[in-house]
Amino acid sequence: MTMTTKPAPAAAAGAPPTAGFLDRVLKVRELAIAAVLVLMLTATQLDNSAFLSQQGIKDLLLNATILVLVAVGQATVVITRNVDLSVGSVLGITAFAAGDFLHGGGNPVLAVVIAVAIGAGFGLVNGALVSLGQVPALVVTLGTLYIIRGLDSIWVGSRQITAADLPSGFVSFGHDGLSVIPYLALLTALVLVAAAYYLRSYRSGRDLYALGSSPEAARLAGVPVRKRILAAYVTCGALAGLAGALYLARFGNVDSGTGNGYELTVVSAVVVGGVAFTGGSGSVYGAALGALLLTSINSVLPSIGVSSVWVQAIDGVLLLLAIAVDRIVALRVAGLLRKRAAQTRSATHG
């Protein structure tokens, strides 16, 4: 990840200095995660040649899909300088809702739609509380984390959905795919590309970044702050709902504890992926790569013979490392930009 500093001198040539330069640094941020990921997978493959078998690749992708989906949603919220801690609870309750519907003989497509709708509904509640009630996002979503988990436990009780309750088509949708690429991964990739395109190219998408960099300035520039925050939360909730439905398809096993504590994994993935908590920076591609990196570590460690008790500590250290390196690079870049601005000023005046 230290390579992020290298392209700095390369970007010196003419052109609009700040925009192109910053753009490149941000792009490299995602490249850095990808490089770490590739390095890690290659090293593991060299150590254990069975790791990247056809089934191995498929498992890697399958493991990542659900986290990637939720991380994409979370990234849209974090970009606006907010956070949604209730995603784990939403995932749990929507997975059970979809399972319960299918258990009663419902249509699989409709089940997914129901899960997404319930998720969007909870997102709406979160968004309304944050944007209209003007309450800190962390507190509100901590509250709704409890509330949704409570609702889920009361409704589910000691019941359990198992793969036997689900239509076989739905279960095989969760396991099969086009050669090595599972259907779930294709669906996730589709969502990812759509979200990235929206955030990059639409005005309302850019507004989210503006909002995150400086809420005050965005408001003065005429960005409909409340509407945008509401939209970000609805997106996040809907994607958590979709992830819930896919969780059901993938694991076929849902009870009242499903998704418990997932919020911290999601937030870790997003932050490792370079979406800053301070808002206004990062991309959903980064978040997705962060998620892929975290889930891959969980597969890599056992296959190179490291006990699974190390996984959590390594996840935590990785998160700390990611934010620390980000910060150091950002400080360096800021210093460089300042120096360059001073140089151009003295050049034009002298």
Partner: protein
């Protein structure tokens, strides 16, 4: 975050009409205190088995871990930071304690070592936040995972239960025939220290100043970074102490001890009216919040409310506790505007004449 921009306005209003605000909008921490009293009175008179000494000692014993960590956490939140790693620090302290005890070390040596470990955990959090300028939320989510992971490496899936009997007794018994557990005494001492520190010393005033405006506090000569670092260290230390207490109180040291404790602590502290944006709150409110949640959970278990509904009610309370003061403030502001409009009327009428 949107509230950041409206807050200065609110503060201005509060400054100009302080007497008005104090009279009209009750302070939230007194509201929580009153709620706690109402709940206790109702429970004593209506819920059988609540008032007996055994149940009360259970209530206090089960709430003590949260009450302990809430003390430094209040100060940390007042200064505008947060620590999510407290549950993991407690778990790590418990795990190390179990491992060292299994290794044959004397418990008199182990406990200071565990507390020292808490100091180190706090230092790591504090240095990352103050020296690198990282957001405390992100840092402590990282250390939440890291410390818990280390606890898992240290102790694996073992559980250690055979601590010396007099220590186990200290952590679970009550004084004579009263309902007060022995462990409540050190807590009371810590509470006293914390109250004096936060509300009656320059250090406490500095914490409020830093929370209200870090920049202004720095220009006023407050050593912001050192202050924050010391608060992180205090939080880590008390968390480790809590971990030791937890292992003794439940007579079991496991790596997953106190999992999720951070959310309970933060819920209680926020319920007690400590503003997450920093610069506001009292320790009295935080303690009232802690015991309100604790008593509520105890009562609900007694009247057979399922633990699931308890989770739900905790969440609703948390949302209401942050929403209500804000709504009250908005209503108060609207009323003040109306009053101001009425007050302005006569002079304009006069000049018009």
């Amino acid at each position: 975050m949107a509230d950041r921009m409206t807050d200065p306005m609110a503060d201005n209003k509060a400054a100009t009409g302080r007497g008005f605000a104090a009279r009209d909008a009750l302070r939230w921490d007194t509201v929580v205190g009153a709620l706690l009293v109402v709940l206790l009175v109702c429970s004593f008179s209506l819920v059988s088995n609540f008032g007996n000494a055994l149940n009360l000692s259970f209530l206090i014993g089960n709430t003590l871990p949260i009450a302990l960590i809430a003390l430094p956490m209040t100060m940390l939140v007042v200064s505008g930071e947060i620590d999510l790693s407290v549950g993991s620090t407690a778990g790590l302290a418990g795990a190390v304690m179990g491992r060292l005890w299994n290794g044959g070390m004397a418990i008199e040596m182990i406990i200071p070592l565990c507390v020292l470990l808490g100091v180190v955990c706090g230092l790591v959090n504090g240095l990352l936040v103050t020296r690198l300028g990282l957001p405390s939320l992100a840092v402590t989510i990282g250390t939440l995972a890291a410390y818990r992971g280390i606890a898992q490496i240290v102790l694996g899936s073992n559980s250690v239960t055979d601590f010396p009997q007099q220590y186990l007794n200290f952590a679970s018994d009550r004084i004579g025939g009263t309902f007060v557990p022995y462990a409540a005494i050190p807590w009371a001492v810590l509470l006293l220290i914390a109250v004096v520190l936060l509300h009656a010393t320059p250090i406490g005033r500095s914490l409020f100043a830093v929370g209200a405006s870090q920049e202004a506090a720095r220009f006023a000569g407050i050593r912001v970074k050192r202050l924050k670092l010391s608060m992180f260290v205090a939080t880590g230390t008390i968390s480790a102490l809590t971990g030791v207490f937890w292992a003794l109180h439940y007579a079991s040291a496991r790596y997953d001890n106190a999992t999720g404790l951070e959310l309970s602590v933060i819920a209680a502290v926020l319920l007690g009216g400590i503003d997450f944006d920093g610069g506001k709150g009292t320790l009295g409110g935080a303690v009232a919040g802690v015991f309100l949640l604790g008593a509520l959970q105890n009562v609900m278990s007694l009247i057979n409310v399922s633990s699931q509904s308890q989770t739900l009610i905790t969440g609703v309370l948390l949302v209401v506790s942050v929403l209500a003061p804000r709504l009250a403030r908005q209503a108060g502001r609207a009323r003040a505007r109306r009053k101001a409009a009425v007050g302005d009327m006569p002079p304009t009428a006069l000049t018009a004449v």
